[in-house]
């Protein structure tokens, strides 16, 4: 290690610290392969074609192609910033009480027996991923008291590709898939799903999307839920439900939380990771929630203390801003009405785009049946395009879909609808 040349002054630090002459301690670090999403976004950014369209984003885009703030949220932000009584203090590690209370109600319904019997724990987390991470850590710590449980965890095929990594980061290495999306049926294949879960070892965790499945947009029907939960209870599996874009499917908060409420009503123990990013337009604010429904009230305190311990060394406390906004809205009936109205517009626009896209494709004579576009709802849909066709779209038409052939419908608007429909048609009809 070379020493700096000139003498060091007592009060000033020499500014030509020389790091050369020895091997970095991080020589062994190799570049992480970026996630598929990141590579896709990177390719899109480098694309200079003026007609390019990115349909693989996570946020809801309005007609002008940008994410936007709900009017109500904007007003509340202004109110909160002008509030002279807010004090900067560390929030509790488990988050704002009013927020967790409302978030819990929104998932379970106000009159849920589980809430009344005080066997529900709600923890505010900095976003959806953090909620899943906390749930994974809790499971690993608590599921099996005698020996550290380490899986397996079953994820749907396909699923959000960051899920496996989250469980692994929590120390659970045994990650498996269960059959979900069927290309032929263009929907969920229940039989194969049940077959896979039937084989799962007892105490396996099954991650299920309560609504707006990412990335396919294909959700389970009430009947399918009944059959699946029966299997879960019989085989003693543990359900971990995901509810990220609540209210964006049907514009109906309760309807989308139905699976959570149903499972709870069956007396099941469950975890549910929620996000309020989409339904409040608060993407940048990392507002998440982990719901734990326990079998007995006597377990509540120990789970709570376990959660607090885990949180303490991960992020210590969640951030207050976004949770404050959500709590302010949800605890005021007038605000709730206004919020639901704005969300309804989002949902209706998504439905409209689906209809328009279906029509365009039909008119172009694009092969395949496109009814499923309007049978499913929410932000995402599966076009049924295969990998080659998806690549054709990005390389030749500058239209970027997720590798699975799924796309975010809100990124389609009046300006690019025709071009996108035409592109999909070409991808399907050009021999590749």
């Amino acid at each position: 290690m070379k020493r700096p040349d000139s003498k060091l002054n007592e009060t000033e630090v020499k500014e030509n610290g020389d790091a050369g002459g020895h091997l970095s301690v991080f020589t062994n670090v190799h570049t992480a392969a970026g996630s598929p999403e990141k590579r896709l976004l990177s390719a899109f950014k480098k694309d200079t074609n003026p007609g390019k369209a990115y349909l693989a984003g996570r946020e809801y885009y309005s007609e002008d192609g940008k994410t936007f703030e709900l009017r109500l949220v904007r007003r509340i932000k202004q109110q909160l910033s002008a509030d002279p009584t807010t004090r900067p203090e560390y929030p509790s590690p488990l988050g704002l009480t009013e927020f967790t209370r409302r978030a819990t109600e929104v998932a379970l319904g106000k009159s849920s027996r589980a809430i009344v019997e005080e066997r529900v724990l709600g923890v505010q987390t900095p976003g959806f991923t953090a909620a899943v991470r906390l749930g994974a850590e809790l499971l690993r710590n608590w599921y099996d008291h005698c020996a550290a449980w380490c899986g397996p965890v079953y994820l749907s095929s396909p699923c959000d590709d960051s899920l496996a990594g989250i469980f692994q980061a929590a120390g659970i290495q045994d990650i498996r898939e269960y059959y979900y999306w069927d290309d032929q049926q263009r929907g969920v294949c229940l039989d194969k799903l049940l077959e896979d879960l039937e084989k799962a070892p007892e105490r396996s965790v099954v991650v299920l999307s309560a609504s707006a499945h990412y990335p396919t947009g294909a959700d389970l029907s009430h009947n399918q839920w009944a059959v699946i939960t029966e299997l879960i209870m019989r085989r003693r599996l543990f359900p971990f439900l995901l509810l990220p874009p609540q209210a964006l499917c049907y514009g109906n908060v309760e309807r989308e939380a139905w699976p959570v409420q149903y499972c709870a009503s069956q007396g099941m123990e469950l975890l549910c990771a929620q996000s309020f990013s989409h339904c409040f337009g608060l993407y940048g604010e990392a507002v998440g929630h982990l719901l734990c429904v326990l079998k007995q009230n006597s377990l509540l305190l120990s789970v709570q203390s376990q959660a607090a311990t885990i949180v303490k060394s991960l992020w210590a406390q969640p951030s207050a801003g976004g949770a404050n906004i959500v709590a302010t809205v949800l605890s005021n009936p007038a605000h709730v009405v206004e919020w639901k109205e704005e969300v309804k517009h989002i949902v209706e626009r998504c439905m409209l785009i689906r209809e328009l896209l279906r029509e365009r494709l039909r008119l172009l004579g694009a092969p395949g049946c496109w009814d499923r576009l309007t049978q499913q709802s929410g932000l995402y849909c599966n076009t049924g395009l295969n990998e080659d066709q998806v690549e054709f779209l990005s390389q030749r038409r500058h239209v970027y879909l997720l590798p699975s052939g799924c796309l975010n419908v809100s990124a389609i608007n009046g300006r690019n609808l025709d071009y996108i429909a035409e592109s999909i048609h070409r991808a399907l009809t050009t021999s590749l």
Partner: protein, 381 residues
């Protein structure tokens, strides 16, 4: 009366304080209709990361000019420590080497242990720091631990305003520490939660960090803006990485991103925007420095007055350490029995270690507190 308030600043009325510059910037942000509302990138707001690293390392830091400094926005100082620890466990001193010793000061902020343990490190050890007999730094013990530590051990150093003792090495002492660490290939991980808050000067409080960087160390700095911005509730932190060169930095950041992606994925924007806007605008930056100095000055005043009153009361013992120590906390030197007396008989609440939060002192309670300390020392052995 609480001298054990959570590690947060209090005004002379014993209330939390929203920094005037923060209030101003919050308003600007709320009214800015050009802001996009998307998820932040996984590594955080770019302008926040660069401004944060700059405030720690200094405007004319050559490492920054050499493009070998990067930042990862994190959920407070805790988040920054955790991400750094997770990275080190995976990639430092081999691959996934959980046996690398991690040294934390004795005593230290209690969460240091949990963060590194939960990141997977199996061997977390104390290094000598506080000399209770002399109420100061146990330099000999510290240096000895550095000499004896296995090569490549990780040392968590407090950049300034050591928590909980308030006792920092002098510049000469830091140089000695640096010399040994360099010679023995020990890894430097600074915890910087009080920059500006300790002495009132950002540069002075960052001296140790900047010295180590100028000595060519590759190092991490976990920064927190909770105290010096009063943004406790927005969880604003940054992990500054000083790498050997730009290429190393790129690889490191790519792995950091992978780690963040499985922890919180996209960090919250509100706090980062406030800090970024403030640090990147000369007028707001100057205003912020003024606000920080206000907080630091109040604490320095309380230290001065407490010492003065104890001396005026002829309280046995020396009380120089009250003004020699720096930052939010002070190790009074009261023993557990004396602490119990303070709590039970005088209703002055402090930690069993004798640590008080100087921010809990105000012009209205300082006489009472000084008298209580006097009584504790004279009545209880």
């Amino acid at each position: 009366m609480l001298l054990r308030v959570p590690a947060a600043y209090r005004t002379d009325d014993c209330l939390p304080w929203v920094l005037p510059v923060v209030k101003k910037v919050e308003k600007l942000i709320v009214e800015d209709s050009s802001l996009n509302h998307e998820y932040l990138p996984i590594l955080g707001l770019p302008e926040f990361r660069s401004a944060s690293s700059k405030v720690a390392l200094g405007d004319d830091c050559s490492a920054i000019k050499d493009n070998r400094v990067g930042g990862v926005q994190a959920l407070g100082g805790t988040g920054a420590l955790r991400i750094g620890a997770e990275f080190l466990r995976r990639w430092y001193n081999g691959v996934n080497n959980t046996a690398t010793p991690v040294y934390v000061s004795a005593p230290t902020w209690e969460n240091h242990n949990s963060v590194f343990a939960d990141a997977g490190f199996k061997d977390i050890r104390p290094y000598h720091y506080w000399d209770a007999a002399n109420r100061g730094l146990d330099l000999a013990g510290l240096l000895d631990d550095l000499e004896k530590a296995p090569e490549h051990s990780i040392f968590v150093l407090h950049a300034c305003a050591h928590n909980p003792t308030g006792t920092d090495p002098t510049q000469e002492e830091w140089k000695k520490i640096s010399e040994i660490m360099k010679r023995r290939n020990l890894f430097v991980f600074f915890d910087s939660a009080y920059q500006g808050f300790a002495s009132g000067s950002l540069d002075k409080d960052a001296w140790a960090i900047r010295y180590f960087v100028s000595e060519g160390f590759e190092l991490f700095v976990a920064q927190s803006f909770s105290k010096n911005f009063g943004l406790y509730n927005e969880r604003v932190g940054n992990l500054t990485i000083v790498a050997q060169d730009g290429e190393n930095l790129t690889r490191i950041l790519s792995q950091m991103e992978k780690i963040v992606r499985t922890t919180w994925s996209n960090p919250p924007s509100q706090g980062a925007r406030i800090v970024s806007k403030t640090l990147n605008c000369p007028e707001l930056f100057a205003e912020w420095k003024g606000n920080v100095k206000t907080m630091a000055d109040r604490v320095l005043l309380m230290r001065d007055q407490l010492k003065g009153k104890l001396q005026a009361l002829n309280t046995p013992g020396t009380w120089e350490h009250i003004t020699q120590q720096i930052g939010m906390f002070s190790f009074t030197g009261l023993n557990p029995k004396q602490v119990e007396f303070m709590i039970k008989e005088r209703h002055v609440y402090l930690m069993a270690s004798g640590r008080i939060n100087m921010c809990g002192l105000t012009s209205s309670n300082i006489d009472y507190v000084a008298q209580s300390i006097h009584d504790a020392v004279t009545k209880v052995q």
